[in-house]
């Protein structure tokens, strides 16, 4: 019996390598088959719906890779409830219409037991209905977002505004200044985040000089830059996303914002987005996330995950927290713990167990679901970009409460 498991594992790994190669070249919706399909109740099907193409593809592909890594690891240690895990990945293509169609495939054709995915809030909003309401399936959303998502059977494993702002903004005021500008992309995440951020800014003695919203494809920010400079803004709390963020930071740099002592702050900036601009243009940019790669120097577990990821997936899709990669890892591990506790795979039992699931080790530290709230406590870190790399300048005391629902 031991021999059989060894053989199966080797065969599975070679299948996985081939399939990874196939996915890396961008073949459409695909499946990682598990060799124990003859297990009594069949495999447990995990659905991933993420942006494999489109402007957020740098994050989506990282998430898909993390999912493959975690599923492989779980299958290697004997699967879940004695059954192998099968992964079904669909592309949401940063296009809500396409996403809904592809998510329907996961639910109706592949009949997955759980869906994890969606990166932007608009994507989450578009696909949560087919998954949770019409599809009656569990949905885990892994990305940092604006909060207020309290739909039953929808669990969030990424940072919330409370986690990203409560300690970050006071640090910004101390290390930047009191005058804040809130240039934002015009969609739900910046709108809702700014409401929370404004509260914290003003509670700590800061001042919001202006708050503006731009179309997502706006690339000319001369009016905004001018307003920032002439109002002598200290901290630009930015929620403009690609494609606008690159030109925006560049134009800000050219106008001399950083030279005059200004600080950039952007809560989704991670290792993946560092490459959008030249290092000089984002020098000193501060971000607050649940994980940074530099943590691998001090935490052995983080080093292990990072190394495993980079070995299987060398290339441009980095394991980074602003790209939902850490949230994906956390979500899958919490789900695994919940399934083990429930002993069953139906939505009710797993959701009940997931409600209070905990993992002792995760990227950035342990994680705990807050019972009844479907959101997750985690450690938060503030880091600053220096010469193209991040340096941690502040950490939370233990796990931070998400304060949602």
């Amino acid at each position: 019996m031991f021999d059989r498991i060894q053989l199966s594992r080797r065969r599975f790994l070679s299948n996985l390598a081939f399939a990874s190669g196939a996915v890396a070249t961008g073949v459409g919706s695909w499946v990682v088959p598990a060799p124990w399909a003859n297990a009594a109740e069949g495999p447990i099907k995990v659905g991933i719906a993420t942006d494999l193409t489109g402007p957020i593809a740098y994050a989506g592909n990282a998430d898909a890779n993390v999912a493959k890594m975690v599923i492989k690891e779980i299958n290697n240690s004997g699967g879940l409830l004695g059954r192998p895990l099968e992964l079904y990945i669909e592309d949401t293509a940063s296009n809500e219409s396409v996403a809904v169609g592809n998510v329907r495939k996961l639910i109706q054709r592949d009949k997955v037991d759980m869906v994890l995915g969606g990166i932007t809030s608009s994507m989450r909003n578009a696909i949560k209905d087919p998954i949770v309401a019409r599809g009656k399936t569990l949905y885990i959303y892994p990305q940092l977002y604006e909060g207020k998502e309290c739909t039953p059977y929808l669990f969030c494993t990424g940072p919330t505004p409370a986690q990203q702002c409560d300690e970050f903004i006071p640090w910004l005021i101390k290390n930047g200044g009191k005058k804040f500008a809130l240039p934002s992309a015009n969609y739900v995440w910046p709108h809702t985040l700014n409401v929370y951020a404004r509260k914290v800014i003003e509670a700590n003695g800061g001042e919001v000089v202006f708050e503006e919203y731009y179309p997502l494809d706006q690339v000319d920010f001369s009016a905004t830059v001018n307003r920032i400079i002439s109002n002598k803004v200290d901290v630009v709390f930015n929620t403009v996303i690609p494609p606008g963020v690159g030109p925006f930071f560049k134009q800000l740099y050219e106008a001399g914002f950083l030279k005059n002592g200004g600080r950039l702050a952007c809560v989704y900036y991670d290792e993946n987005t560092l490459n959008i601009n030249q290092a000089a243009e984002i020098e000193g940019l501060a971000s607050c996330l649940d994980y940074f790669k530099v943590l691998t120097k001090e935490n052995p577990f983080d080093a292990k995950i990072q190394a495993a990821y980079e070995k299987d997936f060398p290339g441009n899709f980095l394991f980074a927290a602003g790209s939902a990669a850490t949230g994906t890892y956390r979500g899958l591990k919490l789900w695994e713990a919940a399934v083990k506790e429930a002993g069953k795979i139906d939505r009710e039992s797993v959701a009940a167990a997931l409600d209070h699931a905990k993992i002792a080790e995760g990227p950035g530290g342990p994680a705990e679901m807050v019972p009844g709230k479907r959101h997750c406590k985690m450690k938060m870190y503030t880091a600053v970009a220096k010469g193209g790399n991040y340096e941690i300048v502040a950490r939370s005391n233990g796990l931070v409460d998400p304060k949602e629902c």
Binding site: T53, D220, A223, E254, A255, I276
Partner: protein, 285 residues
């Protein structure tokens, strides 16, 4: 005062970019009566070629110089193979060039995979006048645009090639009777229009970053600019581009960007309705 100067500069630089793109569109529309729906994608190609050069380690200048020639050559080939068949029916031409644009756009999307890629500016940094900083590169774009416009004008009004082009524009039958090869003229015109778009793409890629939908956003603005300016002359589209570019860049300074966006188009359409010939009617340079 400083504000006004910076504002004027930014408006001018954005206007210059629109002018470059629209110039090609206008020349093709005036000469051959077809609206080239693929013009935006020629801009994209210019940007992509520049990026390719940079990614392969060549100096960005090389890519920027190569782009108009490559795109122009492609335009010439496309005209000979495909566009030529559409001259009789402008509507079919619009659809055909749209299909062409779709092919080009999706091909580029397949090649760059939906990312937003950046290219550093060949002339970086800023020019400082006291407290005013203006981007050196955008200043260069304005200069290059002015040079290109001057060059086009000289080409069309002072050279024999330009004379032949104008003749074909004003009276194709007579031109043919006089021995001018109209197919060659049309091919050259299309190539020239595409080359201008390619140049525009090459120049703006450090500013706007490269992504697959880059062309679409300029296409509509370009069309509206051509109609506002008036089809049939050289100055017409330039004037239209100037107006549209200026409005698009100036209005966000005084109202919310989303309203400004829409207002430009509404104003343009209303204007065209009441003055269908555009700002500058009449043919010729």
């Amino acid at each position: 005062m400083a504000n006004a100067f910076v504002a004027a500069f930014e408006i001018l630089s954005f206007g210059a970019i629109i002018v470059l793109i629209v110039l090609g569109l206008g020349i093709i529309a005036s000469m051959m009566g077809i609206f080239n729906f693929a013009q935006g994608e020629f801009v994209l190609l210019g940007a992509y070629i520049t990026y390719l050069a940079y990614a392969k380690g060549l100096p960005i200048w090389a890519g920027m110089v190569a782009a108009p020639f490559v795109v122009g050559a492609l335009g010439f080939v496309l005209e000979a193979l495909i566009i030529r068949r559409f001259y009789a029916a402008p509507i079919v031409a619009m659809l055909g060039t749209y299909a062409l644009g779709l092919i080009i756009r999706e091909a580029v999307r397949g090649l760059i995979g939906g990312f937003y890629l950046t290219v550093p500016e060949p002339i970086g940094g800023s020019i400082d006048f006291g407290t005013i900083h203006i981007s050196a590169w955008r200043f260069t774009i304005i200069v290059i645009t002015l040079l290109v416009m001057a060059g086009c004008y000289l080409l069309l009004s002072r050279t024999s090639f330009g004379l032949r082009m104008r003749a074909t524009l004003e009276n194709p039958a007579l031109a043919r009777a006089s021995g001018i090869s109209t197919p060659l003229m049309y091919g050259a015109t299309f190539a020239f229009g595409s080359a201008l778009a390619g140049l525009a793409g090459a120049l703006i890629v450090p500013v706007f970053s490269l992504y697959a939908d880059l062309g679409l956003r300029f296409l509509i603005q370009g069309f509206v600019a051509v109609m506002v300016g008036g089809v049939g002359s050289f100055i017409g589209p330039v004037a239209g581009a100037g107006v549209i570019g200026t409005l698009s860049a100036a209005l966000p300074w005084i109202m919310a960007p989303v309203v400004a966006d829409v207002l430009v188009f509404v104003l343009a359409i209303v204007f065209i309705k009441f003055r269908p010939q555009g700002l500058i009617a009449g043919k010729g340079v």
